[in-house]
Symmetry: C2
Subunit: 228 residues, 2 copies
């Protein structure tokens, strides 16, 4: 998408307005609610008009994805690499959770928009200043953890939303799994399973794993350990 010309245009439409409205619909009603026709009527335009600015719906989604990544800003560099990476990871995570539909796009579309590149570059600067050798590996490690944790949390939310109230079937199902997997059951039971609890558990879990990861990464700093 990033190659295709911006296609000026300002009579009724432009890419910015399209992407903005698309993100609004996606945030409010999710992926299934966004059709080209829906977006067109929302912009007071016929469907065909959209294809003047965008070659395909996937192009539009790529634009929406990168627009959202623009919300992640690395601020105040210079508090040390660990604080910098931690702040980056938390900000990135918050953005993903604010726009859950992004998770369905990450594995399906390329993610090489200008905002994605700018963000990688900024974080790489922090990693380089820290003295790491494998710059991209460290970046990927942090990045992958954020994405993985966000995917898991959204998936969990989805599972809770799907099973509305506790019908008799659900109770029977839980009982059956508990019988087959006693350890899993004992480990899950203390969780009250409310949607708010899920977020709290995930937030704390995320911070824990991130700390472990950064501990492990720190051991690969030349000053501490010459091993590459």
């Amino acid at each position: 998408v990033w190659l295709r010309p911006e296609r000026g245009g300002d009579r009724k439409l432009n890419r910015e307005r399209m992407v903005g409205r698309a993100v609004a619909v996606l945030d409010a009603e999710g992926m299934d609610a966004l059709s080209m026709r829906r977006l067109a009527t929302e912009l007071d335009v016929t469907v065909g008009a959209l294809y003047w600015y965008v070659a395909t719906k996937d192009d539009l989604l790529e634009l929406a994805l990168d627009a959202v990544l623009g919300e992640v800003r690395t601020d105040a560099p210079g508090d040390g690499w660990r604080a910098g990476l931690t702040a980056y990871a938390h900000r990135y995570r918050e953005v993903l959770l604010r726009h859950p539909w992004v998770m369905g796009l990450l594995g399906r579309l390329p993610n090489t928009g200008p905002n994605a590149l700018a963000l990688s570059d900024e974080v790489l600067v922090v990693i380089e200043r820290a003295g790491f050798r494998r710059l991209t590996d460290v970046l990927a490690a942090v990045h992958d953890h954020v994405v993985g944790a966000a995917v898991a949390q959204v998936s969990w939310r989805e599972a809770l939303a799907r099973t509305g109230a506790a019908s008799a079937d659900v109770i029977e199902h839980v009982r059956a799994t508990a019988e087959r997997h006693p350890l899993l059951a004992s480990v899950m039971s203390p969780a009250p399973q409310g949607p708010a609890d899920v977020d709290a558990v995930c937030a704390q879990r995320f911070a824990f794993a991130l700390d472990c990861l950064l501990d492990g990464l720190a051991a690969h700093l030349p000053a501490t350990d010459g091993d590459q």
Copy 2:
């Protein structure tokens, strides 16, 4: 889905045959190729017949997701927790990369099928035997890293596949980004960017980050460090 009865049936169809064929289509031609109509003709049946065994297409996809997770088997427990978790992570990753369409489902559908639960339980046993306190946190840390790394790799593949040969536009685009982000450019340039190289880079990157994570987790073992 897991609540709804199996709906016996063996005249022409059953869930197993449906899911098997669906996975085959998904593996061969990806998410976009799988429609209910396509699956029906592939099974010598009309579309309506499918809805006897499955309430919705998402249900079918949930079944396909869990079926794929069944390919991840934890073998030979007892080589130590670190070897066990490493083997689990690598096997899980291989399965995800063999079925790239799964990545588009993970953040969109609940993932609470019997195979997913059984797998979690088996890994939890390894984690508990190791002496960890926060069982689920450790499980999630490893799990999230696998998913995040797989998502990134598939997304990278997709980006390469999308930009076919190096047209003049692509070259101009790369040059422009290189100018704006010199560090990013210098770090990316050594990569020959072939599809095979991507897999190799990602495999090594995955192993590195996993090692770092396990190092960090090991520090939280009571024997080594009483801190919870």
